[in-house]
C-alpha cells in the first residue's frame, strides 16, 4: 500500500462518522435550525 492511500484495515468510514461526536453536534444544530425555521414561519 502506498503511504498516501487510505488504510484498508481502518473500520468503515460511515462507522467512523456515526461514532464521531463532531458529527452529531452539527446534526443537532441543523435539526434545531430547521425546527426553528418551521416555528417562526
Amino acid at each position: 500500500m502506498k503511504a498516501t492511500e487510505r488504510d484498508p484495515k481502518t473500520r468503515g468510514w460511515w462507522t467512523s462518522i456515526l461514532s464521531d461526536i463532531h458529527f452529531w453536534v452539527p446534526i443537532v444544530v441543523l435539526v434545531g435550525g430547521l425546527l426553528l425555521l418551521r416555528f417562526i414561519r
Partner: protein, 434 residues
C-alpha cells in the same frame, strides 16, 4: 559531525520559517475574504424590492453553485477534487452537512431582518465568531498552550469586533423593530449558532488534508439542495418557477453577487485552514465593514443623515479594525501548532487517512511523488458552461435606474482585485493552492 551543505542549510531555514509563512498567509486570506464577502452585497443592492427573499436567496445560491464548480476546475482541475475524494471520502458528508447548515442559516437571516431589522439582527448572528472560537478550542485544540496574551488577543478582538458590528449595524439601518420581535431575535441567534457550527466541518476537512477547493465543490450540493427544498416547501413549485421567470432581468446581478461571495469564501476557507477557525472567522467577519463602505461610498446610503450616525459609523469601523488587528497579531505559536498537529493525527487515525498526506497538506504542499493536478477537457467544459450561463443572463439583465458613484466603485473594485492578485499569488507561491 557531518558537514552541512548550503542547500541543506537553506532548506532547514525554510522549514523553520514555514509555519510563520502559513500563519501570515492565513491572516492575509482572512483580510481578502472580508473584502470579497463584503463586496458580494453590492450587486444585490442593484435589485429592487418586490421579489421574494426566498427567491433572491435561491438565485444567489445558483450563482454560488456555478462558481463553486467552475473556479476549482479553472484553478486546479477536477482531477484534484477526485483525488481528494479517493483519499478522504468521508469528507463529502462533512461538506454536504456544512452546505445544509449555511442554507438554513441564510434563510433564518431573511426572517430576522424582516422581524427585528438589520441593526439588531446583524450583531446577534455575528456572534458566530465567538461560537467558532469555542468549537475550535473544544474540538480542535485551537488556542491550547497559546498563552494568555494570544487568547486575550483572539477572544478580546472577537468581542471588540462584535461591539463594532453592533455600532455599524445601528448606523446603517433606518428601521426600527417590527412585529414578531421575539421570533426575529430567535432567528438571528439561530443563524449565528448554525454559522458558528458550520465551521466544525470546515476545520475537520482541513485537519484531514482536504483541499479547500475540493471542499467548496461538495459544499455547494448541500447548499443548493437544502435551499431548493426550503424554497419549494415555502412557496410551492409552480409559484417558485413563476417567480424565477419574472425575476429573469435581475438574475445576473444576483448570480454575480453569488460569484463574488464564492471568491470571498474560498479565501475564508484558506484562512480557516492556515490560522484555524478561532482566528479565521473573526477576520472574515470584517466583511461588514466592507459592505458598509460600498453602501456609503457607492450607493450613498447614509447621505443626508445626522452627524451622530456618521460618528457611529466611524466608531464602529475603528472598533472593528482594532479587533481585526488584535486577532491578526495573535498568530499561533509553535506550541499551539503542535496541539493542532495532535488533533490532525487523531483525525487521520480515526478515518484512516495517510499521516504523510495529512502532514503535507497541513504544511501546504504535495506529498513526494504525488501527481501534479492538471486540467482536462471536462474542466474547460465546466468553465465554458458556467461562463455561458452568466453571459446569457447578462444579456437579459436590465441596467437599474439608480444613481451610483462610479469613482468610489472603481476604487473599491481596484482594491478587491489588488487583494485577489496579492493573496492569490501568495497562495500560489507558498502552497500551489494545496
Amino acid at each position: 559531525m557531518s558537514p552541512v551543505s548550503s542547500s541543506q542549510f537553506s532548506a532547514a531555514i525554510q522549514d523553520a520559517s514555514r509555519p510563520r509563512k502559513l500563519q501570515l498567509l492565513g491572516i492575509l486570506s482572512g483580510f481578502a475574504a472580508g473584502a470579497w464577502l463584503g463586496a458580494a452585497e453590492a450587486p444585490t443592492k442593484l435589485v429592487s424590492t418586490g421579489i421574494s427573499p426566498m427567491v433572491i436567496s435561491l438565485i444567489m445560491v445558483i450563482g454560488v453553485f456555478l462558481a463553486r464548480w467552475s473556479l476549482p476546475a479553472l484553478i486546479l482541475g477536477t482531477s484534484s477534487v477526485r483525488a481528494d475524494v479517493r483519499r478522504a471520502p468521508h469528507l463529502i458528508i462533512w461538506a454536504l452537512l456544512a452546505g445544509c447548515l449555511w442554507a438554513v442559516a441564510n434563510t433564518l437571516t431573511i426572517f430576522a431582518i424582516r422581524d427585528i431589522g438589520l441593526s439588531i439582527a446583524f450583531p446577534l448572528w455575528n456572534s458566530n465568531s465567538l461560537l467558532g472560537i469555542l468549537w475550535g478550542f473544544l474540538f480542535f485544540n485551537e488556542l491550547r498552550q497559546a498563552g494568555w496574551r494570544r487568547r486575550a488577543g483572539v477572544l478580546g478582538g472577537a468581542l471588540v469586533m462584535c461591539g463594532g458590528a453592533a455600532l455599524l449595524a445601528v448606523a446603517s439601518s433606518g428601521r426600527g423593530p417590527a412585529a414578531h420581535s421575539l421570533h426575529g431575535v430567535w432567528a438571528a441567534l439561530g443563524a449565528g449558532i448554525l454559522w458558528g457550527t458550520m465551521y466544525i466541518p470546515y476545520r475537520k476537512a482541513y485537519l484531514t488534508g482536504m483541499n479547500p477547493l475540493s471542499f467548496v465543490t461538495f459544499f455547494s450540493f448541500g447548499e443548493l439542495g437544502m435551499m431548493t427544498v426550503l424554497s419549494v416547501s415555502s412557496l410551492g413549485l409552480t409559484p417558485l418557477w413563476q417567480a424565477l421567470l419574472s425575476a429573469r432581468s435581475v438574475v445576473f446581478w444576483l448570480m454575480l453577487g453569488g460569484f463574488v461571495w464564492v471568491v470571498g469564501d474560498v479565501f475564508q476557507q484558506y484562512a480557516a485552514k492556515y490560522v484555524g477557525i478561532s482566528r479565521g472567522i473573526p477576520l472574515s467577519n470584517s466583511n461588514q465593514l466592507w459592505g458598509l463602505l460600498w453602501g456609503i461610498l457607492v450607493f450613498g446610503e447614509l447621505h443626508g443623515r445626522s452627524s451622530s450616525i456618521y460618528l457611529e459609523v466611524i466608531g464602529g469601523s475603528l472598533l472593528m479594525m482594532l479587533g481585526v488587528g488584535a486577532i491578526a497579531f495573535s498568530s499561533a505559536t509553535g506550541q499551539e501548532q503542535t496541539r493542532w498537529k495532535e488533533a490532525a493525527i487523531r483525525e487521520s487515525d480515526r478515518y484512516g487517512v495517510a499521516t504523510d498526506f495529512v502532514e503535507a497538506r497541513m504544511d501546504g504542499r504535495q506529498v513526494l511523488g504525488e501527481a501534479k493536478p492538471s486540467r482536462s477537457g471536462l474542466d474547460w467544459l465546466l468553465v465554458v458552461a458556467a461562463t455561458s450561463v452568466f453571459v446569457i443572463f447578462a444579456a437579459m439583465a436590465r441596467v437599474p435606474q439608480m444613481s451610483l458613484h462610479w469613482g468610489p466603485a472603481a476604487l473599491l473594485t481596484a482594491v478587491l482585485f489588488l487583494f485577489l492578485v496579492i493573496c492569490g499569488l501568495t497562495l500560489w507561491r507558498t502552497t500551489r493552492f494545496n
